[in-house]
C-alpha cells in the first residue's frame, strides 16, 4: 500500500495540483490587493461565479471564447464595484456584505441560466479555450510539463502574479495600497485618496476573480453549471491568509489546496483504507495544519475590516 501511495507523487500529480490551483491563485492575487487596502471580501465567490457565468454567456453570444473571458472580467469588475459601493461608500459591514454577495451570486446566476437558456437536458456548450503548451518553455524537463503545458489563462495568472508582486512592493502605487490598509487616516493626511485606492482594488480584485471563474467554465469545461465555483472563492480567501497577505504566499496557499485535492482524488482511486469523507476534507486539513503551525498576525493589514470615514471639517 505504502508503495502505491508513494507512486502517486508523480508528474501527473504535480501537473494536476497546479491546474487545480490556478483559479484559486488568480482570485487570491486580487484578494491580496483588496485586503491590503483594508477590505475583507468574503464575496469573492460571487465574483468567480459571475465570471464563470458571464464568460459562457459572452462566448455563446459572440461565438468567441476569448471575448467570453473579457465578459467575465467585466462582470467581475462590476461585482467588485458594487461590493466597493456597499462597503466603502455606504460603509456596510464587510463580512455580512461579502456573505450576501456570495449568496446572491450563486442564486442570480442559477436564475439567469433558466431565464436565458431554460431547463435543458444538457447545459449550453461553447468552444473551449484549449490547453496551449508554450513553445520552448514547455520542453523544459518536468517544469515545462507542470507549468507551461496549461491553459493560456494559466499564463495570464502567472504574469498577473509577478506583476502584482512587483506593483505591491516596488511601486508607489503598492505603497499607497499598503498605507491605506495600515492606517487610512495617516494615508489621507499625506494626500492619498483612500476611497479611490480602495475602489480600484475592489475593481481589480473582481476582474481577476472573474477570470478565475472563466477558467472553470471556458477552459476546464466549456459550459456553465449551477454553483460550479464550488467554494473556490473561500479557498482563495484562505490562501491570502495562509500566504500572509503576500501575492506569492497566497499563490503557495492556492497550491496547497490544489495539491491537497489532487492527492485526495488519487488516494480515493487506489482505495486507501481511509473513509472517503475524510479524504475529501484533506485539503482543508492540510491548510489548517499549516495555519496552526506557521500562523502569526504579522502581515495582516492593521485596518483590515475597518470602514474608513472621511474626516469632516467642522464649520
Amino acid at each position: 500500500m505504502l508503495e502505491s501511495i508513494l507512486s502517486l507523487f508523480n508528474l501527473d500529480f504535480l501537473y494536476a495540483a497546479v491546474r487545480m490551483a490556478i483559479p484559486i491563485i488568480l482570485a487570491a492575487t486580487g484578494e491580496v490587493f483588496l485586503q491590503r487596502s483594508g477590505i475583507f471580501n468574503i464575496g469573492i465567490e460571487a465574483m468567480m461565479i459571475f465570471g464563470a457565468f458571464f464568460g459562457v454567456l459572452g462566448a455563446a453570444l459572440t461565438g468567441n471564447s476569448w471575448l467570453g473571458v473579457l465578459f467575465a472580467m467585466l462582470a467581475g469588475s462590476l461585482t467588485g464595484l458594487a461590493f466597493g459601493f456597499v462597503v466603502i461608500t455606504v460603509q456596510g459591514d464587510q463580512t455580512i456584505t461579502g456573505t450576501a454577495f456570495s449568496i446572491i451570486g450563486l442564486g442570480l446566476t442559477s436564475f439567469l441560466v433558466r431565464v436565458i437558456w431554460g431547463i435543458r437536458k444538457l447545459p449550453v456548450m461553447v468552444t473551449p479555450i484549449e490547453r496551449w503548451p508554450v513553445p520552448v518553455l514547455s520542453e523544459i524537463p518536468y517544469l515545462g510539463r507542470i507549468f507551461f503545458d496549461q491553459s493560456p489563462l494559466a499564463y495570464i495568472a502567472y504574469v498577473l502574479l509577478i506583476l502584482a508582486t512587483i506593483v505591491m512592493f516596488k511601486t508607489t502605487w503598492g505603497l499607497k495600497v499598503r498605507a491605506v490598509g495600515e492606517n487610512p487616516k495617516s494615508a489621507a493626511s499625506i494626500g492619498i485618496n483612500v476611497i479611490r485606492v480602495r475602489y480600484l482594488c475592489a475593481i481589480f480584485s473582481g476582474s481577476v476573480a472573474g477570470i478565475g471563474g472563466a477558467i472553470l467554465s471556458l477552459s476546464e469545461l466549456n459550459m456553465f453549471v449551477d454553483n460550479m465555483s464550488g467554494g473556490r472563492g473561500y479557498l482563495a480567501m484562505a490562501s491570502v491568509i495562509l500566504g500572509r497577505w503576500h501575492p506569492l504566499g497566497a499563490a503557495l496557499g492556492g497550491l496547497v489546496f490544489g495539491a491537497g485535492n489532487a492527492l485526495q482524488m488519487r488516494l480515493q482511486a487506489i482505495g486507501v483504507p481511509i473513509p472517503n469523507n475524510l479524504l475529501l476534507i484533506l485539503p482543508y486539513v492540510l491548510a489548517l495544519l499549516i495555519m496552526v503551525s506557521v500562523y502569526s498576525r504579522s502581515g495582516a493589514p492593521a485596518a483590515l475590516g475597518v470602514p474608513y470615514e472621511k474626516e469632516t471639517t467642522i464649520e
Binding site: L122, E220, L221, V225, D226, M228, M265, R266, A269, G271
Partner: protein
C-alpha cells in the same frame, strides 16, 4: 437604539407565536372521484441539475398532466430546513408532499404523524406508514449493469465508478457496480471515488483524470451535474465512459458507451393518481427498477461495442429486467 432593538425582538417573537398558532388548513375528505390535488416536491438539487432532481421534476410534471394537480416545489433544500418546509406545505393544505431522496425519510415519518390527513412519499427509501409511501428504487441495478458493461469492455482490467456524494442511492450503485464488474470480468479491479459535490463539474473532471491515471479505462459517471465534468475528464484522457440519468452521448460521442437512463415518470404518475383517486395504499413500499421501466439503458455505441459484446450486455439487461439477478438492497431508513 437598545429600545428599538428590544421592540424589534418583541415583534419577531410575537410574529413567530402567531405563526405557530395559525389554524392548519382544514383537510378535505378524499372523495372516490378524482379531485384536484396539490402536490409539493422537495428536492435536494435544482430542477436543471441534469440528474436526480431534474428527473423528479419531469416526473411530477408528467403526473400533473395526468391528474391536473397543482404543483409547487422547493429546490436545494438543506437538512436543517426539512421540517419547516414540510410543515409549511402541510399547513398550506398540500395533499401530497414528495421528498426526493432517502434523506427525507425521517422528516416524512415525523411530520406524517403530525398531519395524518396529508400524504407523504419518499423516493429511494423503504419507509412506510399509514400516510407515508416509500417509492424505492433499485439503484444497485443501474450500478450492476454499468459494472457489467465496464467489465465487458475494459482492456486494462481496471474499471471505476465516480459518485457525487456518499448518499444511499449512490452507495447502492457502487455496490452493484462491484458485483457487475466481477460478473463479466472476474479478475477485474474496481475503483471508487467521490467528487464530494453534486455540481462541482470541474472537480468531477479532475477526479476522473486522477482515477484514469491509476490505469482505469472505463469510468461510470454517476454524479449528476458533476458527472458532466467526469465525462469531460474521460474525453480529455481518451477513456470510455458510461453516462447516467439521461443520454449523455453528445458530450463525448466517441467515448460514451451508453447511459444508464432514468425515467421516474411512471413512479410519480402512479403515486399522484393514487392520491387523486383517493386510493392511497397505506403501509406499502413501492419498489421500482428495470422491471417497472424507471431504469433502462440508452443505445450502445456501435463504435465501441462489438456485436458479440452487445448481445452479451443486452442479455444481461433482460436478466435484470426479469429480476433474475439477485442483488443486495441497502436499506435507506434510519437504524
Amino acid at each position: 437604539m437598545k429600545n428599538t432593538l428590544r421592540i424589534l425582538y418583541l415583534i419577531v417573537i410575537l410574529a413567530l407565536a402567531l405563526a405557530a398558532c395559525a389554524p392548519q388548513a382544514a383537510p378535505t375528505e378524499a372523495p372516490a372521484a378524482q379531485q384536484k390535488i396539490k402536490v409539493a416536491l422537495v428536492l435536494p438539487g435544482t430542477i436543471n441539475d441534469n440528474g436526480w432532481s431534474q428527473v423528479a421534476y419531469d416526473g411530477v410534471m408528467a403526473g400533473a398532466k395526468e391528474t391536473g394537480a397543482e404543483v409547487a416545489y422547493t429546490e436545494s433544500s438543506q437538512l436543517p430546513d426539512f421540517e419547516a418546509i414540510y410543515r409549511d406545505y402541510a399547513n398550506k393544505g398540500y395533499t401530497l408532499v414528495i421528498g426526493h431522496g432517502s434523506e427525507y425519510a425521517d422528516v416524512a415519518l415525523k411530520i406524517g404523524k403530525e398531519f395524518p390527513k396529508t400524504y407523504f412519499a419518499v423516493t429511494n427509501a423503504d419507509v412506510k406508514a399509514e400516510n407515508v409511501a416509500g417509492l424505492d428504487t433499485k439503484n444497485e441495478e443501474a450500478g450492476y449493469l454499468a459494472g457489467f458493461i465496464a467489465g465487458t469492455l475494459t482492456k486494462t482490467k481496471k474499471v471505476g465508478i465516480i459518485g457525487a456524494m456518499e448518499i444511499v442511492a449512490m452507495k447502492r450503485a457502487g455496490e452493484g457496480f462491484d458485483i457487475g464488474a466481477k460478473a463479466s470480468c472476474p479478475d477485474c479491479q474496481t475503483m471508487h471515488a467521490w467528487v464530494g459535490s453534486f455540481d462541482d463539474a470541474g472537480k468531477g473532471k479532475e477526479t476522473a483524470m486522477a482515477m484514469i491515471e491509476q490505469g482505469v479505462d472505463v469510468v461510470y459517471a454517476n454524479a449528476d451535474a458533476a458527472g458532466i465534468g467526469i465525462i469531460s475528464g474521460c474525453k480529455e484522457k481518451g477513456v470510455m465512459v458510461i453516462g447516467d440519468t439521461g443520454d449523455q452521448s453528445s458530450l463525448a460521442p466517441d467515448l460514451v458507451i451508453t447511459s444508464m437512463m432514468q425515467n421516474l415518470n411512471p413512479m410519480f404518475v402512479e403515486i399522484m393518481q393514487e392520491v387523486a383517486n383517493g386510493k392511497f395504499i397505506p403501509n406499502n413500499v413501492r419498489m421500482n427498477g428495470f422491471d417497472t421501466g424507471i431504469y433502462f439503458i440508452a443505445d450502445l455505441n456501435k463504435k465501441l461495442v462489438s456485436d458479440e459484446q452487445a448481445a452479451k450486455i443486452l442479455a444481461e439487461v433482460e436478466k435484470v429486467k426479469n429480476n433474475q439477478v439477485k442483488l443486495p438492497h441497502m436499506s435507506a431508513s434510519a437504524k
